[in-house]
């Protein structure tokens, strides 16, 4: 085969490799999320977000955005939910929490740990999803009744994921 004159080779940097492996781990955790049975439809532990938080602390916000978006698309492909309503909800929640995490860079690290980021990002995820549902899927205010119980589940998940992610970051820093 002749080489095309426009062919270009892309060099993957060390950070690209790290982002790819974190995204792969996030996709695997996303499968675990999907497999865990849940008492309420829509309630998930959100373990995949541990990798987003880890990327945020070790590689920065841009890497966290990459890891998260790769995870959303990758998990959508594996679960067969690509471009279904569930996928858009996942993407909407991810974008909302990434935007908030971007804003949270302003929080001084001396007083706020990963747990704060996790808690806030989790609630942003929920709000982004509910907003999408309210605007496009179920355009009635009645769905807001779901908010308090979902927010409670989100709070618990946010603490758990934040603690797990800080353990990982501490272990990573020791190496």
């Amino acid at each position: 085969m002749t080489r095309s004159p426009t062919e270009r080779t892309l060099q993957a940097s060390a950070d690209d490799h790290r982002i790819a492996s974190l995204a792969a781990l996030a996709i695997a955790l996303g499968m675990v999320d999907a497999a865990i049975p849940s008492p309420l439809p829509g309630v998930k532990p959100g373990l995949a977000n541990i990798m987003t938080l880890f990327a945020l602390y070790t590689l920065g916000w841009r890497a966290a955005v990459w890891v998260t978006l790769l995870r959303v698309v990758g998990a959508g492909l594996l679960l067969g939910s690509l471009f279904t309503p569930g996928f858009w909800l996942s993407l909407g929640g991810a974008l909302a929490s990434l935007l908030l995490l971007g804003a949270c860079r302003a929080l001084p690290a001396r007083h706020f740990s990963l747990v704060s980021h996790s808690l806030l990002a989790a609630q942003a995820h929920l709000l982004g999803q509910l907003l999408l549902v309210r605007l496009f899927l179920i355009p009635y205010d009645n769905i807001l009744v779901l908010f308090p119980p979902l927010a409670l589940a989100t709070l618990l998940g946010g603490v758990a994921n934040g603690l797990i992610a800080s353990h990982l970051v501490q272990a990573h820093d020791k190496d």
Binding site: R110, F112, V115, L119, Q123, D141, N142, V145, P148, V159
Partner: protein
Amino acid sequence: MFKAGDYLVLLALCALLLAAFLQLGRHAGAASEVIVRQNGMETVRLPLRLNRLHVARGPLGLTEIEIHDGQARIRRDPSPRQYCVQQGWLRRSGDIAVCLPNRVSIELAGPRQAHDSLAY
């Protein structure tokens, strides 16, 4: 692991959550009117804020619908098994009492109609 700010964030979120639960308890399923149907057709809508007795005539006789203190019930009905009467007071939007033999039903409705079910 936890730093001072984390407790602050956690506390703030807990407070918001509590407020959300209280707000939900106050507004959930608030109903504002009763829809009366005969033969499946809506015949009249009665506001829940006015106490009154409404009588609907069906094929078996008279069905009495009572509205009291923002609640509604079938007070009397000629149906043999009295299911709709035994249902008692209806309070929330979407609650329904059906007197099938006499072909009368009442349903509470809010400013916005609640869903029968949600499928994910």
